[in-house]
Symmetry: C2
Subunit: 392 residues, 2 copies
């Protein structure tokens, strides 16, 4: 196997190291970089077309952040009859159908194991289990940075900004950490998982997405008193071809499995009609975990495993399928907020500097209406799914 | 693919159902049963040789409990150029090398995904990750029945006998439940995992194996006070080609992931130098989970994935590599016991009807010496690894 490696950042350099230290039958022939900075032109180039035109190169690894360039490389490489392994998530979210078609037409493979849960065995498990099972749910704590932040706030009692800073120092986050904490990265991973598990595609903006950016130390006071642990969860279900999905912080009872996924780890879960529930836990980010994911794809291509991806069908979302309790917290009580939430209140907790309302069981679409009304009031608030039981 | 299905008990009938309901390209041509009981001779037979001699049949699924017959079927089928999928664990533990050799010589495959963790993606993950990683640890809560019993004792406050009875009613256990509660089933699964992860084979009797059969409600009193949760764990590590292993109840702090694996679930874990720690959780037993495992093997054979198994090397065990605290509990204090354990004591807890000694950190081989001495005293006792931290 001869590789054209597009990008030499965290993931690209990790893949290169790993191939050189462990695999004699894989050769990285050429590496795309932004600037040569004195590196050898034998191995490095700043011209992607030099790599794409090279007939010796049978497989392209995309490890660059620029979505437009990644898309261009993927389509061009597939058309030229090269296998493509993408570590770029966005292009998988937005163009998977096109890539599958092109790969099938050109009798090559398009793979993307590292885009969800990095090196954890997730994409392949979904593909293989999907052949045996009707998968009815996929969910996950898909973002290591937000898990790290929430875990530190809980354990060390520090506030959001300090925890965010520590996570940045430890380099857990995606290039744009805003995507981590607002749930956008999690949503992308959920969409990819849904395409494989349900064979359905939902456009990103249709999935209600709430992050952890507004969580306060005061919220942790509430959680501690009620023995809850917050996790940024992504969740999707399918029932009679109707899909429901949400990305939101979720409050789990302290002595559940999900509450005890620590640090930078991901939890990836699915429910199938034959296997039941399967959960995979491990480092879902980081140089070597992601490189492990890319190598899994490369070995699968070498081994000739013939997993056929099917084209996901585009569907709209039906949020009446999820009902749950929800948690809203504000800096102070306000008449406007109370008027909006009062018909749905389960409990109200008021202290000097915090005002918390939990709802009784309501449908997610009702909750989304409420969220829109609250957003209109301009109040700063933190929202979560209130999970006495695990969301289901 | 044309299947000869050996056995029509829980797993055999599950596999048959699943194939018929979901797979058009797989046909079960003949099924081996003990007695026909009026069933059609077109599909059923009591003669295994009729199936083995049938040239239309390319793949044999072994789903019978009799180890000698299973072994005979596996070797004969491989020699005749048929793929073999074994749901029988014992023959994999005792003859894997021979099966791999025969399969390679005859250019067919030998697979056994369902033997550890039933349908969970474990065997294949170990094989694939082993190509990318040096795997230094494998461990697991490999037995659903014992997990179910311990979970019920903790949650419902019932005693061991009642919990065992409930688990039997719910049919979670292996045909011989003695293997479940004494750790023998767990040990078999650990040995299979070690062969794949480390490429080493340790004979079963060399692995110190302690079960849950002597646990009492009184022990749960101690656990509750010290915020611990017991799990029957199997654990193996490799370091500079030296292997250490143990199967024993292990006491985890309540708010750890491992303490919160519930009911009938398994947890399967590994540590690799590239991926870090990966843990897989789900139903590791039951008709459909096991059938899911067999189907994974069949689809892998159909897809032509070319995973090469290597011959595990037989090694002896070096228990000096594991050091830990340990827990001993007795019905009453005794001078003999005190004399044996005194040099290693960390704490002693005595109540009217229980006498508990925890040790300081000692090496596992020292601990095994102590266990042998205690066994000589004829005292009934419960033994566990005392895991303030997770065993490592």
């Amino acid at each position: 196997m001869q590789i054209g490696l597009m990008g030499f950042g965290t993931i690209g350099s990790g893949v290169y190291e790993l191939i050189n230290s462990k695999f004699n039958d894989i050769r990285v022939k050429k590496i795309l970089v932004r600037g040569l900075h004195g590196r050898s032109e034998n191995l490095f180039t700043t011209d992607k077309d030099e790599i794409l035109r090279d007939d010796d190169i049978d497989t392209i690894v995309i490890a660059i952040g620029d979505d437009a360039v990644s898309y261009e490389i993927a389509t061009e490489a597939l058309k030229r009859g090269k296998n493509v392994v993408s570590a770029n998530k966005e292009i998988v979210v937005n163009h998977l159908s096109e890539f599958i078609k092109l790969a099938n037409e050109n009798n090559v493979k398009f793979r993307f194991e590292s885009t969800v849960g990095a090196g954890l065995p997730w994409i392949k498990t979904l593909c293989e289990y999907g052949k045996i099972n009707n998968i009815s749910k996929v969910y996950g704590n898909f973002n290591g940075t937000s898990n790290f932040i929430l875990d530190m706030m809980k354990r060390d009692g520090i506030d959001f900004k300090e925890a965010l800073l520590k996570s940045r120092i430890l380099r857990y986050q995606e290039p744009d950490y805003f995507d981590d904490i607002t749930g956008v990265d999690s949503r992308n991973k959920l969409i990819i998982s849904m395409m494989l598990a349900f064979n359905k595609f939902v456009v990103p903006k249709d999935i209600p997405t709430y992050g952890i950016q507004n969580i306060r130390s005061l919220d942790f006071g509430f959680f501690e008193r009620h023995k809850l642990t917050p996790k940024l969860m992504s969740y999707a279900m399918i029932d009679n071809d109707k899909v429901a999905a949400i990305v939101a912080p979720t409050l789990y009872e302290q002595s559940t499995l999900r509450a005890n996924v620590r640090g930078n780890n991901n939890m990836l879960g699915m429910v199938g009609d034959v296997i039941g529930e399967v959960q995979i836990i491990g480092a879902g980010a980081g140089k070597y975990s992601a490189s492990n994911g890319v190598l899994l794809d490369l070995l699968e291509i070498i081994n000739g495993d013939d997993i056929k991806l099917t084209l996901p069908e585009r569907v709209t979302i039906d949020e009446t399928r999820i009902t749950h309790r929800f948690y809203f917290s504000f800096d102070q009580s306000s008449y406007k907020i109370e008027r909006i939430l009062l018909p749905y209140v389960h409990s109200i907790f008021e202290t000097q500097d915090s005002f918390v309302i939990t709802t009784r069981n309501i449908s997610l679409d009702t909750c989304i209406d409420l969220l829109e009304k609250i957003e209109d009031t301009d109040e700063r608030f933190f929202f979560a799914v209130y999970g006495d039981e695990e969301i289901s």
